[in-house]
Amino acid sequence: MTDETTTMSSLPDEQRTPLLKRLTGANTLWIGLVLLGLVAAFGAIRPDAVFQVTTLQFLLAETAVLLVLSVGMTFVIITSGIDLSVGSVLVFASVSSAMAMNAVSGGDATNAGWGVIAFGLLVAVVSGAVWGLLNGLLISRAKIPALIVTLGSFGAAQGAALLLNNGSNLSGIPDRLNRTFGSGTYLGIPNIVIVAAVVTALGALLLSTTRFGRYTYAVGSNEEAARRVGISVRGHLTKVYLLAGTLAGLAGFMGNAFFRVAVVTGHETDNLNAIAAVVLGGTSIFGGMGSVLGTVFGVFIPAVLEKGLVIIGVKEFWQPIAVAIVLVAAVWLDQTRRRARNRR
């Protein structure tokens, strides 16, 4: 192979697609522009109401929990899977965490200290992780379709959460937790948003720069190819659902901090909202493609629409209709692009 070394000097970076072309070719950019356009449009109509610190703070804080769920959902959907259980797992983690904090504080954790709060966080994250692990094992080992497995755990986790406290909300969330992570701010940014932002940034790095992320794409793109090159597909799928469950557990704890109560209702459509956010963000429902940044945009588009329509005085009932149109259009666009690409 000695005579071949002359070609070794070829410069791969010359073969790279230019940055601008890569950006404009990506769904993420367009979705980001749509979000920017929405904010600009609402801002132009009612600048006084839209660009108010409290409006923006509320918008961000309310979206933080959904964002954490959606980061986990991004990984799941890139493996061409689905997780319908995230909202129920969130409720279960939220209730079990609140119960655990109350239990170690003699029945009421309202005045509990940091030790109890840390314990509550641990309980929330671990209970989320257990549901995620259960999902992952049933999907990867028992080969039951993810749609069915997580439909099952969607019902089971909700039921288990209701059983834990006889179907009612649970109070006794430590004041200290609410003051700091629930309603506290740092430089004007709600702390709960900072937590969500850190989780999102770590998720984005995990997906785009690590081997774990690469395998996530590979499994979603062609499971058989991944298996043939020696990737443990079953192990990887288990880890991805474990991650989604763990993040749902964390989201449950964040909800406790924000609402000062472990709420057992109101999360029935979290799963659909997270899926919509991920798909809006340009992640392909068929797997193999997607990004966490896109998901961030995808989470905020419905949130901005909802807030914006209320502010400019349109009936808020238009919001789900507007989101639905954007969602279906996004998937249609994704399919057209794929078909055009695969036709060669």
Partner: protein
Amino acid sequence: MSQPLLEARDLTKNYGTVKALRGASFTAHAGEVVSLIGDNGAGKSTLVKCLSGVERPTGGTMIFDGEPVVLNSPNDARDLGIETVFQDLAVAPDLDPAANMFLGREILKPGILGLLGVLDKKAMRKQASEHFTRFGATLQSVDVPIAALSGGQRQSVAVARSVAWASKLVFMDEPTAALGVVQRQRVLDVIKRVRDEGVAVVLISHNMPEVLSVSDRVEVLRLGRRVARFKAADTSVEELVGAMTGALTQEDAD
């Protein structure tokens, strides 16, 4: 000839009641191209799957480099320096050629980042680009998804990926099936070049002139067992077809 690199003896493989292999034997030496031919259903693909660790044979023995081996997974084969180009390519269409080439063998960044599993994408792109140039896969860019490439380019990537990692032996299941004339010739050149590096190449093909032009030896399977062996220089298309159809039987017919 010297000790064979790979020798399979009396392999059997049953899928339920179907006997795909009925005592098939196979031999490959280092630095030779040996073609494995046979009619549809003769057991070629099953034999390759058994020899590359994808399937476990029901019975029989495999000897590699003088040692008896049992392959429980494709990883076992890979650890021995055995690679496979599968008929269905087995690439991840959404990943770019460099990512595909290093799939399962990613280069990590040095130091603490590497311990965290951070990929060294630049190094992988550079090395992949060098490999592709060496093995004649001409790609306009190394960072577009494989799905955006033409069928021939996809195949070139799959071939280049396997030969890049094969240190001892590479199986190629119909590597030229989807290719045009120029690309086909390029793949055949790659096969010869890999052979000249001392690697054994096992080629599965239905194209008899191609088999004769590139192979050193030819082994013929029929109904799940080896029925004939030829030196490519001393045989003809007629003889090969005769062996495939059962008109001519050399061995193992006892």
